[in-house]
Symmetry: C2
Subunit: 201 residues, 2 copies
C-alpha cells in the first residue's frame, strides 16, 4: 500500500471513529456533582485524588481534603498544596491501626473526622471534597455505611466527592458515579525498594 493510500485509509477510519465519539459526547448532557471512588490494592488511589484536586483548584473551585487514618503531616502533597487558596486540608487520623494499637482512639478519631465531613456535605460552597483512605473507617466499623450513604446522597447536587481506600463496600459503589479499581501488577516495595520521598509520600 502506498503512503497516500495509507493516509487515505487512516483518514476514513478516523472520520468514522470521530462520528462514534461525537455521538457519545452529544448524548452525554447531564451536569452534576460526581461521586468518584478509587479502590483496589494498587498504587495510585490517593495520588489520583490529589491530581483531581489540582484540576479542580485550577478551575477556581473550593476544595476540602480530609485524611482518615494517615497521621503523618510531612507529606509532599500537603507541603505543596497547603498554601493554595480555596483549599482546606485536614489530617484527622492518628496513623495505621497497627501503629496506634488503640481501637478506642481510632474510633474517636474517625468519628471526629466524620463530623467535619458531614458539615462539608451540607455546605454548597465546597465544590470538591476528598475523603482520603476513608474506606477503612467503614471496614473497621467505625462509621455506619447507611449513615454515610445517606449523607452522600443528600449533599449539594453540584458537589464532587472523591473517596479513596482499599475494599470499598458494595453499598458505596452502588451510589457512586465513577469507580476505578486499581490493581497491583508490580510494586517497587516488593522488590526491596524503600518508600521514596516524592513517590510514596
Amino acid at each position: 500500500m502506498s503512503e497516500h493510500d495509507k493516509n487515505t485509509r487512516h483518514l476514513a477510519r478516523m472520520q468514522r471513529k470521530k462520528a462514534v465519539v461525537d455521538t457519545k459526547i452529544e448524548s452525554a448532557k447531564i451536569s452534576k456533582g460526581l461521586l468518584l471512588i478509587h479502590t483496589g490494592i494498587g498504587k495510585g488511589k490517593s495520588t489520583a485524588a490529589f491530581g483531581l484536586l489540582a484540576r479542580a483548584l485550577g478551575h477556581g473551585m473550593q476544595a476540602v481534603v480530609v485524611q482518615f487514618i494517615k497521621g503523618r503531616s510531612d507529606t509532599g502533597e500537603e507541603a505543596f498544596f497547603k498554601n493554595a487558596a480555596n483549599l482546606q486540608w485536614h489530617v484527622m487520623g492518628d496513623g495505621f491501626t497497627w501503629e496506634t494499637q488503640n481501637a478506642e482512639n481510632d474510633l474517636a478519631s474517625a468519628r471526629k473526622a466524620w463530623d467535619l465531613v458531614q458539615a462539608c456535605l451540607q455546605d454548597e460552597t465546597v465544590n470538591l471534597l476528598i475523603l482520603d483512605e476513608f474506606t477503612y473507617a467503614l471496614k473497621y466499623g467505625w462509621l455506619s455505611i447507611d449513615e454515610v450513604v445517606a449523607a452522600l446522597k443528600n449533599r449539594p447536587p453540584m458537589q464532587h466527592v472523591v473517596i479513596t481506600g482499599r475494599a470499598a463496600p458494595q453499598a458505596l459503589i452502588d451510589v457512586a458515579d465513577t469507580v476505578s479499581e486499581v490493581n497491583l501488577l508490580k510494586h517497587a516495595f516488593q522488590a526491596g525498594v524503600q518508600a521514596m520521598p516524592g513517590v510514596e509520600w
Copy 2:
C-alpha cells in the same frame, strides 16, 4: 466479650501486625529512581501522575511533564501547576487521532515530543519526568519500543519516571518498578454525564 477484653485482643493483634510490617520495611533498603506505569482503561491514570507531581514538588524536586496526544491547553491541572517553581510543562500532542485525522502529523508530533523526552532522560537535574498518555505513541508505532526501553534504562539512577496510558506494552511493564492497572467498574460518562470541569479536565 467485655470492652476490656476486646481492647486487649485488638492490641495483641495490632502488635503482631506491626512486627510483620516493620520487618518488611526493614528489609526494603534500596534507594533508586523508579519507573511507574499507570495503565488500564479506568479513570485515574493521568490524575495519579499529577498527584505524584504535587508530591514531588512538595519535596522541592525538579519536574518535567510531557503530554503526548493531548492537544488542549485549558486544563485545570495545567492552570494550577503552570506557575509552580521547578516545573516545566509541555503539551506536545495535537489531540486524539480521530480529531487530527492526519497520521503523518501525529507521527511528527510524537517524534518531536520524544526528542524532548530523550533530553530529559539524560539530564540528572530532572528528578521526576511524567510522560502523560505516552503508551499511544507505542501502540500506533510512532516510536520504537526498543529505543524507548533503552533510553529509560540509561537514565540517571535517581530519576523517577511516570508513564500513563491504556495498554502499556509488556516490554515496558517488564522494565517498570511499579505498575498499576486501573480497571473501570463504572464511569459517569456511560450514564450520560458530560465531561465535568475539575473532574475530567
